[in-house]
């Protein structure tokens, strides 16, 4: 049997690796982006000079042949689902018995004027990084549009190369659809401390060219014109499924799958960023573009295709990020605005950028989630607490057990617990 996987990102590669552990079937990984798997999350570090491209590859180049994982560097332009055949850009083709679509995301563009000019781009693929590197010597000022995770990363990247950065955020505060007010405000201040010109409540109207197809300036809605040589569009990503639209494959925003990653076509599966769950697991969105969910989907599809029909179960929600110098971890559900039955209490350090927020149900006192900034916490401990539905008092009593900060770091648990207790009563 031949299993073809389109996409060599974390989902596709995890699927391939776990399939290889269980079967001797022929496995082929297809990518138009790179010869070998690299860690997309590290693109920013290549640009900032923390790493070179080769450091971002989690497996050495000999790994694939040794594990008999076929690699094809080519772009699939269409799929003949009837005859189970992939058609490539160079008019070659490849037959498969089972197909896994793991085509990932692409940066959103919403039809703005000037969005396709030179010097206007998102940051998702290796090619995006190459484009950015090429234009970098010309950049004096870069404007970032969109206050999310990639936006702040792109701002940090440009700053590391000595550029002026103007950061346009449509909302009242950075990432405030996800972060509660206190957290979001703390990040706002931190962004400013890094001399990034953060403009909240600011939307742009159009990107204006210099007559030669290059960006010259960006006009914001109050009429102000900001001269710049670069515009970063970081207003989220969406499934990269352009070549699958208007085919037999059932798609909406993403490729529609059931909890076994089955699409509407037999022997065709989809995993990772490109997926839209018909029935997402409890507490999960139907589109969820996170590194570890891609990994779990890859592991799960390998189980399914080797006869162990397990459903997608990503477990309790968790995530992490780093906002310039501030590390952030979250476990469970901590929405920006807590629903009525949830009490949301937090402690913030007087001076430093450290903050811990815990949410719990008002009636049952059951803890539902935690945000932690500047203090590392243990995933397994929080996961257990959430699964066992510990109460806020039980959690506060043993909060030190969750601390994952390095040795000798100042422990704040006493003041955290004291502060949070006072907020409960």
């Amino acid at each position: 049997m031949h299993i073809a996987i389109i996409g060599n990102g974390i989902s596709g590669v995890t699927a391939a690796r776990y399939l290889r552990k269980k079967t001797n079937d022929r496995i082929t990984l297809i990518s138009s982006e790179s010869d070998h798997f690299f860690s997309r999350t590290a693109l920013m570090y290549i640009y900032m000079g923390h790493m070179k491209y080769e450091h971002t590859k989690p497996y050495e180049d000999w790994f694939w042949e040794k594990n008999k994982l076929g690699l094809i560097r080519n772009e699939v332009i269409s799929i003949d689902f009837e005859n189970k055949k992939l058609k490539f850009k160079n008019s070659e083709s490849l037959s498969y018995d089972k197909l896994i679509l793991a085509t990932g995301s692409k940066p959103n563009k919403f039809g703005w004027k000037g969005q396709n000019l030179n010097g206007v781009q998102g940051l998702y693929s290796y090619q995006d990084l190459e484009k950015l590197e090429e234009i970098t010597p010309k950049i004096k000022t870069g404007v970032i549009v969109g206050g999310g995770l990639i936006g702040i990363e792109l701002a940090e990247m440009l700053k590391s190369r000595g550029k002026n950065v103007i950061f346009l955020v449509r909302e009242n505060s950075f990432w405030d659809n996800i972060l509660p007010e206190a957290e979001s405000k703390m990040i706002n201040n931190h962004i400013k401390k890094h001399h990034i010109d953060l403009r909240l409540n600011t939307e742009f109207e159009e990107i204006i060219d210099d007559g030669n197809g290059n960006v010259k300036e960006i006009k914001i809605k109050n009429g102000e014109i900001l001269p710049c040589e670069f515009v970063g569009l970081t207003v989220g990503v969406s499934p990269n499924i352009e070549f699958l639209k208007n085919t037999k494959l059932d798609t909406d925003i993403g490729i529609l799958v059931d909890k076994y990653f089955q699409t509407n076509i037999t022997d065709v599966f989809a995993i990772g960023d490109c997926v839209q769950h018909r029935e997402p697991p409890a507490g999960r969105r139907n589109l969820e573009q996170i590194w570890y969910t891609g990994k779990i989907m890859g592991q799960t599809i390998a189980e399914i295709l080797t006869g162990n029909k397990t459903s997608y179960n990503p477990g309790n929600f968790f995530n992490s990020a780093k906002f310039l110098d501030i590390e952030y971890q979250t476990y469970g559900q901590v929405p920006a605005n807590p629903p009525e039955n949830i009490n949301s209490i937090f402690w913030k350090h007087q001076i430093e950028d450290k903050l811990v927020r815990i949410n719990f149900e008002i009636t049952s006192l059951k803890v539902t989630g935690v945000n932690t900034f500047g203090i590392r916490m243990r995933h397994d401990v929080w996961d257990k607490w959430l699964s066992e539905e510990l109460t806020i008092n039980q959690v506060l009593n043993s909060l030190t057990r969750a601390n994952f900060d390095p040795e000798f770091f100042k422990k704040h648990e006493t003041e955290i617990v004291e502060e949070l207790r006072s907020q409960i009563s």
Binding site: I10, S39, T41, A42, Y45, M48, G49, H50, M51, K52, H55, T56, K57, P58, E60, S160, K193, H194, W291, Y292, K295, F318, S320, A321, K322, L324, D325, E327, Q329, R376, M377, R378, H379, D380, D383, F404, D405, P406, E407, F408, F409, K410
Partner: protein, 497 residues
Amino acid sequence: MKKTGIIFLLISITIWILSLFLNQFKLTSEILHEVVKKEHYSLLEPELQNIRDKNFNEVFSFSTEIKSAVSRINNKLESEGKYNEKIFDNYELSLSKASGIGAVSKYPLLFFLLIFGLLITGSFLFILPERKNLPGIKNDGIFHHPATSVQWIGIILGTLLICFYILLYFFPHFITNWILIMDPLSKLMNGNPASQWFLYGFLYTIAVLVMGVRMWIKYRHSKYQLFRTCSVMFFQLTFAFLIPELLTKLNLPSADLKNMWPLDYSFFFDYRIDQKIQAGTLGIFMFVWGIILFTVGVPIMTYFFGKRWYCSWVCGCGGLAETLGDPFRQLSSKKLKAWEIERYLIHFVLVIAVVMTAGVIYTYLSGNSTIMGFLDTGTLRYYYGFAIGSIFSGVVGTGFYPLMGNRVWCRFGCPLAAYMGLIQRFKSRFRITTNGGQCISCGNCSTYCEQGIDVRWYAQRGQDIVRASCVGCGVCSSVCPRGVLNLENLSPATRKI
């Protein structure tokens, strides 16, 4: 400010290198009388006739004349079968030092203050502005900079370091002027004129201290890094530098009490044992202390804390690697092949160190110079000192910092690291834990592991990292953007490997 710092550094290094040429030498019969041992005088005096009272403008031809005179004498003695009369003293250095009559010999203190004043001031001017950055990991531009990514500055630095080590170990007479410059400080500290080892100890110590301050600034957000850096700076300054000099001044056997066998490979050499025995109670204490350290201290401490208690908190080689070497930590190879070579090489050195030492002790106790009739322990000891002690740990170990990373010796060669590594791997509470599923496989941890451990390989699988070579510097944990890695001491049964 940074630019001024670089200018100061360049001026300092230029003067320092020029000082090698800024001296004249003249050998007089008084000097010959004063420096040369009585039993060698009659041998050397006629051979040095041709350079007596002659002015030399540089040390190279002058000291080479002396060196060839000594080897002529030795060849002659050898052909006459008088092996016991051969000259092993480094007269090319001691006579050169005594014969200096030029600027460096007249004003050593001036040169000392000028060179090291500029060097230290320049370094601080370069380092201190980093305080303006907000605390946090700042590795921006490391792989773009020609010094830290094996480009032209790195290659020049590496070449200079390698040349320095070759001169220091094999041609110290060529750096006579540098040693002369150290005389005032050496006399102040231990009462004697400087040797090449005093020069080396001094340079080593200021490198650790100055670059230690750089570490304080770079990692000021991490208490672990701050404490660890303070520790290596303290041990280098006191145990490795001040205490041995003080002991010399008090006419006691000089010893670095934190150094231990088998890293300190000459610990069981006859002259060192004799020296300690002659020194009475303190000497005996030092001998026993040295043995207890590696027989009892190492297993206990390594069981509880991993080898980091020594390698990245106490050791001198580690101290230099963690301070002077920190800018180059990302250059270690993470290839699986490198790990294979590492395992063979480091354990091979350990075996050789044990065999060599066993041979030396056997000879010391029995008086037989060969074991099993063919292995000459003196030869073994000589080649170990040459190949491992000088070439591997010095020339390669430090000279290759800017080319292969800052732990080449510790990773591939150090027999003590190999010994502690075995304990750490098989019987220790130490491990690096990974935080559940938070790893995003970015590779910062692996890139900045000075020991070339592919930390990510374990982290992305949620496995603990239990590796013989990990020196517990904690930088993987510091650079991780997602708070995934942590150095912990827990019951060995709870390892997730």
